[in-house]
Symmetry: C2
Subunit: 304 residues, 2 copies
């Protein structure tokens, strides 16, 4: 299977600590790196995880609260010092340009690469990025400021060739791509060989939804239906459900409910309030609703 | 002696790594904390060093290059989340307000404390901060952008009382502060007791000069004459002297020369280029000129 790997660099809430950075993840899809949020210290975490800076394609910021974007300038600046030439695209809700353009102009004025800022419409779901391997779309979330999650869905891969059948029917190399794409084969004497005899089905299409920060928001369920893996914030436990509502965050149980209703393959919870010394209380709450839940932790790697 | 303690939180040059942050130090003078530069990740380093956030009095930034100020917004924001009420003063050369005021307004708009920005004139030496314990003045440096170091000089402490002499002459408590200040004592029968008999000299006045980033700049020598401890950048070794000149940085030998000519008590070198795996080459160069030199390292504590 092609690579689809998530590195959690930081999963804390507003206050970063030496043990836990604020929100930052990178997703490696077929050796292209996509960054989700960009907290203070994330460039050091990237180095610690030995992630290749120059494979970074784009940065997607959920919202303009400091714990999701205070690492941006440092990272952009470092990429320039490292000699990056390839342009870099940064996506975030409205405010990105007003808040960051002048800073980038000031601090990265000698950078050898171009930084392109894109403001996304946080209130609707649309495809904002697409290449040969992946399609990335926004997931409208409900927070105190414009905020959206991101859904990364890999492009379908070709069917797998049955090498022995190809040889047996003497099919020339020039036809292999058509066969992989699902076409039948017509032999020189006019016989039609069904594609089913020549190939195995492609790998299933995998997807990853990154949903933070948000109040409990069931309207996202159809957007992330059948997602392979869902990351959902779980800032609070049931005990602080009122506080969750007041601050537009979710409880662990609510994260579990979103995972269950969207038929997610797996749930990862994070963005834990620093009040919880032991996050197992959050894990247990989510698992009462959705058993296949794990706790995010800084340094955790998830292979899809 | 009263406390005068320097914590080096970061001493790297432009590229921060997990092992070494960019420039940040804190100086604790009589339990007041002054921060010198404010690199990305410095709030995590503050926590790691168990430094009390709420003792922070003011932040002094040498110049507006990212490796000296990318930690500012995160720190200011965290202080607000921690409920700080006391106003905080931030000093830096011209550009501070233009670059940071709108960011502070945006990201710290719910902060319960006031942040006051002060632009200093980097090209002249003047006292910019003063309280009961310390006087802080600028040291004009020569870099690619307006840049100044900072000299922290403690206020003289009172003379030490000789308890047994005070008792022997029956001097009342109400007079102790006058005696500590150096006054003689006139006994009820008119006898003048010289202060020398009643006190010992005060502790020597200590000072710390923080000089980074700068090309070799002998004009600072009179400003830091007889400083107790000098921190001076030593980005390069002799081998890269031309590069040092080109980028307006110093070599380790030049740092040693400044320390020698200013009759510093001790020299700490830092801001090492990441090209040096072993900084002992820099240490040895500085020591050929000024033997009492040490290497800065992240986590190093220096007691004056």
């Amino acid at each position: 299977m092609e690579k689809f790997e998530i590195d959690i660099l930081g999963c804390g809430a507003a206050l970063p600590t030496p043990k836990r950075l604020s929100s930052t993840q990178v997703v490696n899809i077929r050796e292209k790196i996509f960054m989700l949020d960009c907290a203070e210290g994330c460039q050091m975490a990237l180095r610690r995880s030995r992630i290749k800076f120059n494979h970074l394609q784009a940065i997607f910021i959920t919202h303009l609260h400091g714990d999701h974007c205070f690492g941006l300038l440092g990272l952009l600046s470092t990429l320039g010092l490292l000699g990056r030439l390839q342009e870099l695209h940064v996506y975030a809700p409205k405010g990105l340009v007003e808040i960051f353009q002048s800073q980038i102009d000031f601090f990265c004025n000698e950078s050898p690469y171009k930084i392109i800022l894109h403001e996304v419409i946080a209130s609707k779901s649309e495809v904002i990025y697409e290449d040969r391997s992946v399609e990335i779309s926004t997931i409208p979330l409900s927070h105190r400021v414009p905020c959206c999650g991101y859904l990364l869905r890999e492009k379908p891969t070709p069917r797998h060739i049955k090498r022995d059948a190809i040889d047996a029917f003497g099919i020339p190399k020039s036809q292999i791509n058509n066969i992989k794409a699902g076409l039948d084969w017509e032999s020189p004497d006019g016989e039609i060989i069904s594609n089913n005899l020549l190939t195995l089905p492609p790998d299933p299409v995998r997807s990853y939804a990154y949903c933070t920060d948000t109040t409990y928001s069931p309207k996202i369920i159809p957007l992330i239906k059948d997602v392979t893996c869902l990351y959902h914030e779980a800032t609070f436990s049931d005990e602080h459900a009122l506080l969750a509502r007041k601050t537009n965050h979710s409880t662990a149980r609510q994260a579990g409910e979103i995972a269950k209703e969207s038929n997610a393959g797996k749930l990862v919870i994070g963005h834990f309030s620093s009040r919880y010394n032991d996050e197992n209380i959050l894990l247990e709450e989510a698992q009462t609703v959705f058993p296949n839940t794990i706790l995010a932790s800084d340094g955790l790697k998830i292979l899809l």
